[in-house]
Symmetry: C2
Subunit: 680 residues, 2 copies
């Protein structure tokens, strides 16, 4: 029965993948427009793949190393968690996450030009639907492959311990995709803007700028593939922790039901997401945001209804449904709050725009103040979510553990609609790219107007998506953290223990250090890009007159290598820190460290993402004609804010999601190595 | 024996106060220079007192309210900690802290003009010694009154519980002085600069600027009185927690020794500080920094020797001396690290200056990256300090508690040289003011050169002092936190408990929110100031030609009221948050909240202070002729960094010290109100 129902859940993943294939084929069949458009799209596609293949070269070495390390540790420790089967699961997790990213991005880079062409030939509705279909492929690949992988491994082996290997694999890819991609996208962006716009005085997305293609590649690499890998990790991690805690919390013959419940729920969520995507249809003269919201709401309502039925008929109580719904609601509300702090329809962004009148310093200060203030409601929301999920489920099984199972269910609930959430999120960069292609191909202004209006909605969905990614990373990391504590049989993680306090402080420091490193990485990678663009302007004759073609490929290659090289130090920090603390001070101190990094990590990520988003939209608000409009001193000040916000919101902030999840899963997998610590 | 030795310790405080009086009388006898100089000094003195008296008006109401609340709660709960005696101790703590601030600031505002005059009449050495003597009065008042108050209360009552009232009193004053003063000083600074320098184009400290006096008052209000109250709180808090934990950790007839040990050690530290100040003598052609360092090192070495002897002969082991020395060393090292990150002799500030070449956005990003990175070593240092202090002392008494006593001793050790640390720190604003007076009185350039070189040293000592203030606040808050946990008889504060996790997250968020509020407060208060300066320029005829005098007093009054009004919201947040969490979720969740706010608070304070300090010195480095020098585009970018850094380093950063200590002591005093929480 266990394996039957788990296989059944896996079928949900298969359905999603079939749906993804249908959408991909349909997109592929669409017209891509003029020769010029095709050429540009081809360059972006090739650039994105060039990044991925460079990344894969390092990935292969990395994955092989970790595979060997886990296997060797397994031989030494003879542990249930750490063995060659875990290593295999790790491999599968890494491969599936890579596959999801590759397929999603391939389709996204095809959908962009077709979106531009649809805008040109058929108008807004068709463009919206094309861009969204492209995003939906990513969404279906992420959740389909995630669900399929976890359920198949669990159905075949019936062993929840080796699933952590799968989660570690997903986390490793996310590290490369989100951190490396985040560095890439901002380095290319800064390089393109600084030399092109500021030094040479040519407009954004101008084909004479050698970094233009790299800039557009960056949108796909960072915002599509990076975000997808981030959510793949959260999706798999929360599901796995729920399975594991379900096994731990409930004894007796029906224990398996609690492990299968989250799988079935995820499958239902995935089907609900597919149904939701069918409701995303643009209407002429209507805001595309409405169409996207409708899809999300339909999927959410379907999950709520199914959760209630499933919880009652399968587990005999509504309690587990409440935990699921709590998570789902918290996710939706965090998205809404994020929008509140980063959209110009609300007073916060308007305040920053107003402060731009007195110069860039006041713009920066008010943006930082807004970002810091924006931590208030999300942290209380997460707190309330934890409270409700624990409170309603505790006592249904083992005391304490069943409540923790409820928290993991809340994470599963929040992520159940990942399919459509990723679709909405990935829609943004596709629309953005479509605009870039329209600009570079000199398409008529009406086309650019359509893509601009799609893009402006994309900015909002991107902000909401970031909020959702942070919220889900927080709940996932928390669920994994509890699983860690259970698996290493810690009676307590007591802040009154001096080692735990040390762990808390050091753990709290890591997100600050990590953010500092990723910001430095962007600066350094951007520097390489700036030099290359300057070199091309200097050495290629006639490039600025549009008479000769810039060498786009070299720009892509340079920022690829710079980004991947700059990723190494923060990556090592994330993987090695928990092992050092675990070995030195023991498992309980490691628990403190994870608690500390989770706390400051979530807050810092919210602060940085929202400051960045708010600055971005304050600039756009001014460009819309307020406080002097484009070119005014206010606008100049706002551009400074936006430039500071870029690494905040697109590199450092999102990278923290990876840090907190990766450190927790590393701790979980390597837990057998940690005793009481070799010192103290 | 207990009371005899405690009285003996109190005598150390009396000696310090006598020394302070001698210094004050000596300063008072010195010449204050020309009529113009006297007039300006008089205005600063009056302005500073005007701020203090306005503050006192609110303080009286606040203190009276808390006094009544504690007394009433005492009647209801019939608790050992919460009763009318605690309320009395609260009153004494508040009065003594106020007294220390008032006396120290009065002398500082007299020493500034005499420093300017000494520079004019006698040269560098005499000016250095005058400025330092002024600072020393503050140092002696802070530690003398702190030691005297704590020891007398303890000697008379023999009750360590009511001492927490004293600590709460000190914390309350610190809230007003550090947060209110921090808002005042930056509002005045921004107001003076923006309208004077930018809009009217007149130089800094120009007497035609109506905000000039307010700006100079701000140095005293924020950097002298605010910093003094902050360290008074740490000094008293750490001593009190050591006394209390000494009583708890050691049973038997010699238990009293462990309570008296920190008192005696503080008395020795105070005498050592006095001896240290005698070693601060300028030599012609030598860097004044050396003289200041010598004083600090002499005092530290004396404390180390005394700690070893006292620990061995009084408590029969060297172990407690090691804890003391660990704290002292961590304090000195954090100061050194702070200097490393904020002085232009090291690569970090140089890097920011270099980044200024590419505009203000890169200046901001690199400054934030440097500040975030600067959290690494201090948090590890504090961690090592905690480890050593706990490890060597645990097992000497009750298991666990004796180790915690060791951590409190480390805090006492770090703060034992507060006398000279405050002296060095308060020297900076006095030298800064002396420069301002020299400028406003049109003294010759040679005089300004001397005050400038004193001031530049003052910037370094201010940065070190800030690092020390944060480090000591962290250790003090930690010691109080452990005392809280012991006093409410918590068996554990377990992060695996869902309520503790909620507490951790909400507590972690509070420093972000608090910083956001204080930054907003500066903006709002600065706005009032800007409007007033503009109004005076507009309505007072001949003001810009120097023909008629600006209304300095009105500027002082306006920024005083704005600062105090803007202080209310963050102040309420600090006091009410722990009570709400304690009542709603109970004492253990409150423990989690304190742990969370301690973690993010310390890190955020280090980040903000060091980013601010680094930007400030990057600007000065450029002004020194690098990267294009004064007036270059690099300089303009660096000015933006400095302006963002101002509220970072002088308002929000230091205010967090108060937040984390105040929340802990509020929890400790009101602990009898919290049970298991009314929900969950």
């Amino acid at each position: 029965m266990l394996s039957t129902l788990t296989y059944l859940s896996a079928i949900g993943g298969v359905v999603a993948l079939i749906y993804a294939i249908i959408l991909a084929v349909r997109i592929n069949k669409m017209e891509s427009g003029t020769e010029r458009m095709k050429e540009i799209a081809q360059s972006i596609n090739e650039g994105a793949k060039a990044f991925l293949f460079s990344e894969y070269k390092i990935l292969v070495i990395f994955v092989a190393t970790v595979f060997v390390v886990i296997s060797v540790c397994g031989i030494i420790t003879k542990s249930d968690v750490l063995n060659y089967r875990t290593a295999l699961a790790f491999l599968i997790g890494a491969i599936l996450s890579t596959l999801a990213g590759y397929c999603g991005m391939s389709v996204a880079t095809k959908a962009n030009v077709r979106t531009a062409n649809a805008a040109k030939e058929k108008g807004m509705n068709s463009a919206l639907s094309t861009a969204f279909s492209g995003g939906a492929v990513m969404g279906m690949c992420v959740s389909g492959l995630g669900l399929l992988g976890v359920c198949l491994i669990y159905a075949i082996t019936g062993d929840d311990n080796i699933l952590f290997g799968f989660s570690l694999g997903a986390s490793s890819i996310a590290l490369f995709a989100r951190v490396g991609g985040g560095i890439y996208t901002k380095a290319a962006d800064v390089g393109a803007d600084l030399v092109g716009k500021v030094e040479a005085g040519i407009p954004e997305d101008d084909p004479r700028n050698p970094a233009t293609i790299a800039d557009n590649v960056g949108d796909n690499v960072g915002d599509v593939a990076g975000m997808g890998a981030d959510l793949f990790e959260s999706y798999a991690g929360s599901l796995i922790s729920a399975i594991s805690l379900g096994v731990l919390a409930f004894s007796g013959s029906s224990s398996w039901k609690y492990a299968v419940f989250p799988c079935l729920l995820s499958a239902i969520g995935l089907i609900s997401s597919i149904i939701g995507t069918l409701f995303v249809r643009g209407k002429d003269g209507k805001n595309p945001q409405k169409a996207l919201n409708t899809g999300t709401y339909v999927a959410s309502i379907l999950v709520v209804i199914s959760a209630i039925l499933l919880s009652y008929f399968m587990l005999g109580t509504f309690r587990f449904a409440i935990a699921i719904i709590a998570g789902l609601l918290v996710g939706l509300l965090i998205g809404t709050i994020t929008e509140m702090y980063t959209s110009d329809k609300f007073p916060f962004v308007k305040k920053i725009a107003k402060q731009s009148e007195t110069g860039s310093a006041t713009t920066i200060i008010s943006g930082i103040a807004v970002g810091m203030q924006s931590t208030l409601i999300p942290s209380i929301l997460i707190g309330v979510g934890i409270f409700v999920a624990y409170f309603v489920t505790n006592g249904t099984g083992a005391d304490g553990t069943s409540g923790i199972y409820g928290i993991a269910l809340a994470a599963v609930g929040m992520l159940s609609t990942t399919g459509i959430t990723v679709a909405v999120d990935a829609y943004g960069p596709i629309a953005d790219n479509a605009g870039g292609i329209a600009e570079m191909s000199n398409l008529p202004d009406e086309v650019r107007e359509i893509t601009d209006s799609l893009d402006s909605v994309g900015n909002t969905t991107a902000a909401i998506g970031k909020g959702f990614a942070i919220g889900s990373a927080a709940l996932t990391a928390l669920a994994l953290f509890f699983t860690f504590a259970q698996k290493v049989n810690l009676a307590t993680i007591d802040i009154m223990n001096y080692k735990v306090v040390i762990g808390l402080l050091v753990g709290g420091m890591l997100p600050f250090l990590f953010s500092s490193l990723t910001m430095d990485s962007v600066s350094k990678a951007a520097q390489s890009m700036i030099e290359e663009v300057r070199r091309q302007f200097r050495t290629i004759p006639g490039i600025l007159e549009g008479k000769s073609k810039p060498d786009y490929k070299n720009c892509v290659a340079i920022s690829t290598h710079a980004a991947l090289r700059q990723m190494i130090l923060p990556g090592i920090l994330a993987i090695v820190s928990p092992i050092i603390i675990g070995v030195l001070l023991g498992a309980e101190a490691l628990g403190g460290m994870l608690g500390g990094s989770l706390t400051t990590g979530v807050l810092l990520a919210i602060f940085m993402s929202n400051s960045g988003g708010a600055w971005d939209n304050a600039k756009k608000y001014i460009e819309g004609g307020h406080h002097g409009g484009k070119g005014s001193p206010s606008h100049k000040a706002a551009v400074v804010g936006d430039t500071v916000g870029d690494p905040f919101k697109d590199t450092s902030g999102p990278s923290i999601n990876i840090l907190i999840k990766l450190m927790t899963i590393v701790s979980l997998v390597f837990a057998p190595l940690f005793g009481n610590g070799i010192i103290g």
